[in-house]
């Protein structure tokens, strides 16, 4: 923004060059200075958030290479040892009640947590978008049914639905990811439906329809790219809420089951050792907080930039 203003004031302060000095290109450039958007400025907080998320993604990706020991390697001789920088015997972040290295476990937990949250958000985004398009396209009964399901989901705390499903159907990794995929689909569906309906009334859709494009082609090739901004924002905002849901359930012992571990599961294990080994639960808790905070900051910033309904 500031740069654009600088350029504008510089241009106005300059003595106007005589007509023969002016090349057509220069004139063009001058006009562009006024017309084009100000260059994107990335607030410091957003850059930090993006870096934090990227680092954690890389940590999860290269967990095997980065971890000093395996995530299940036990060393009973050095159980509950505090972090090295607090005078402990072993481990960057200390060890847990079985002598497992917390730093190594944390890397693997980050991998599982991010993977589950990412897969869950992807599922809910896909499902919500498809149902939203379906509701917008078919109208009538289909629309009513989808909106009734949306209302149903929105009127219940999702953690309750998730718990009920896990209680009745038992727990497996596949089912757990599927349950995560149910989180927040109603928001995708509601946005997609609304935007697709308003897009259908726009000229470009009428034009491709008149050219004989199939509904599938209209929705996927023409409407979807036009509403992608809103969906990306929703994706970024849905991600931290799925991370929180996953870690809450795993914390309660109802999510990721041993021998696999996730950030919430580690926190839940550490809860029983708060008195003599606080580092077991503080390390994964801090990581969860960093993930959700960064994703929220990033999502808010993206929403301000990409969501046309806010302008």
């Amino acid at each position: 923004m500031n740069k654009a203003i600088d350029a504008a004031s510089a241009a106005s302060m300059n003595v106007a060059p005589s007509a023969d000095e002016r090349s057509p290109f220069a004139q063009h450039d001058d006009a562009d200075n006024f017309r084009c958007k100000p260059p994107v400025r990335y607030p410091l907080l957003v850059v930090i958030s993006a870096l934090v998320l990227a680092t954690l993604f890389l940590c999860g990706l290269f967990a095997e290479q980065l971890a000093p020991t395996g995530y299940a390697t036990q060393d009973l001789a050095s159980r509950l040892s505090p972090p090295v920088w607090l005078g402990g015997k072993s481990g960057l972040l200390g060890t847990d009640f079985l002598g497992r290295d917390i730093f190594s476990r944390l890397l693997y937990a980050v991998r599982i947590s991010l993977l589950v949250a990412f897969a869950g958000t992807l599922i809910s985004c896909t499902m919500g978008t498809i149902l939203g398009f379906l509701a917008a396209h078919r109208k009538g009964w289909t629309d009513e049914m989808v909106m009734m399901l949306v209302d149903f989901q929105a009127s219940m705390p999702f953690v309750l639905i998730a718990l009920a499903i896990l209680a009745f159907l038992g727990n497996s990794l596949g089912l757990f990811v599927a349950v995560m995929g149910l989180n927040g689909w109603e928001r995708f569906a509601r946005f997609t439906r609304g935007l697709a309906r308003s897009a259908s009334a726009r000229g470009y859709v009428a034009a491709v329809r008149a050219m004989g494009a199939s509904p599938l082609r209209i929705y996927l090739r023409h409407i979807l790219p036009n509403i992608a901004g809103v969906l990306i924002v929703q994706f970024t905002l849905n991600f931290p809420s799925t991370v929180l849901l996953e870690s809450s359930l795993s914390f309660l012992g109802l999510g990721i089951q041993p021998p696999l571990t996730s950030l919430g599961a580690m926190l839940g294990e550490g809860r029983n050792y708060l008195i003599n080994a606080w580092w077991i639960s503080v390390a994964p808790g801090t990581v969860i907080f960093c993930v959700t905070l960064s994703a929220c900051i990033l999502g808010d910033w993206l929403r301000d930039r990409l969501d046309p309904t806010l302008r």
Binding site: S155, P157, I161, L252, C296
Partner: protein, 309 residues
């Protein structure tokens, strides 16, 4: 107005019907309860006898009709663990959860609305940024982690507050902080947006030009007009308070329905799980209904619009 209330009530009943169908469906998908309940060495005849006694051998639509009737009569089955009616097991836990939930809700209102107001009135100042960051942090902080940090600080380090149980009012402090702050962040955010919207209206400028004091301006003009979005989000937040109570009650060993639900899921005490799901769903639906009704009372424009229909 009457038509509006009727329509909303009908919709609420429909949602409740969906919830009941949902519990019935997953109860049936989960497989035969006799297989889950009894050890493998129980003879098949015994299992069959129980299946007949519970009507599990009847066709699904008939089972569903019977299920609907019994739910309508408040008969929600027996708790396997307590061998008492599930409804009794759950209702005796409700007061504890209500105490925790209402206090947290009050905290989030008392914290969130003033914070949002301050942020809106001092827009783009340090105070605004502080309030916004606090609310984002409150939302991002997992409440189980906040609870554990509070226990570490106040119970283990400073030895000021009890870490678990519900005997004295002191026991209430940490769970309420844990549960209330997350909601407070969201309430603050929505209050800020709603108040900013109102502050841009001409009538606020007129009120200012008349020379009204700040308190008259806030309480007489800004708050009533910003109330609708704030009330809406408060109604929606009730769900997140209930969801948060599951975790918070477990962290602080609070004897409410949240902890009961987690325990029942662990033991697969299905009757109790379904009772809790139905009770929470019913209270959420009633709350949303009340929020919808409150609109008409809060905003005369909506009232006349409805009367016009």
């Amino acid at each position: 107005m009457l038509a509006f209330i009727l329509r909303k009530t009908l919709r609420a009943l429909l949602t409740m019907f969906l919830v009941v169908t949902f519990t019935f469906l997953i109860l049936r998908i989960s497989g035969d309860p006799t297989e889950v309940m009894f050890p493998d060495d129980v003879p098949q005849e015994v299992k069959d006898a129980y299946r007949t006694a519970w009507g599990l051998d009847r066709p699904l639509p008939e089972q569903f009709a019977k299920y609907l009737i019994s739910v309508g009569h408040g008969d929600l089955g027996y708790s396997f663990r307590d061998s008492r009616p599930a409804l009794d097991v759950v209702t005796e836990r409700i007061p504890a959860t209500l105490r925790l939930g209402l206090c947290s809700f009050a905290l989030s209102i008392c914290l969130g609305i003033p914070l949002g107001l301050c942020a809106a009135f001092r827009r783009n100042t340090f105070l605004d940024r502080l309030a916004t960051s606090v609310s984002v942090m409150g939302y991002s902080m997992p409440n189980f982690f906040l609870g554990i940090l509070l226990i570490l600080l106040f119970s283990l380090k400073l030895r000021l507050l009890p870490s678990s149980g519900s005997a004295t009012p002191e026991h209430l402090i940490m769970p309420v902080i844990t549960l209330g702050t997350a909601t407070a962040g969201i309430v603050a955010r929505f209050t800020r947006t709603a108040v900013l919207d109102v502050l841009g209206q001409p009538f606020v400028m007129a009120a200012k030009a008349k020379g009204l004091s700040v308190s008259r301006l806030i309480f007489g003009h800004v708050l009533p007009n910003a109330a609708i979005p704030v009330i809406t989000i408060l109604g929606l937040q009730l769900g997140s308070v209930i969801g948060g109570a599951l975790v918070t009650e477990t962290v602080f060993a609070w004897p409410g329905i949240g902890r009961l639900l987690v325990q029942s899921v662990n033991y697969r005490d299905l009757a109790v799980v379904q009772t809790i799901v139905l009770i929470i769903a019913a209270s959420m639906i009633i709350c949303n209904l009340l929020v919808d009704m409150a609109y008409g009372w809060l905003d005369p424009r909506i009232r006349s619009e409805r009367a016009g229909n």
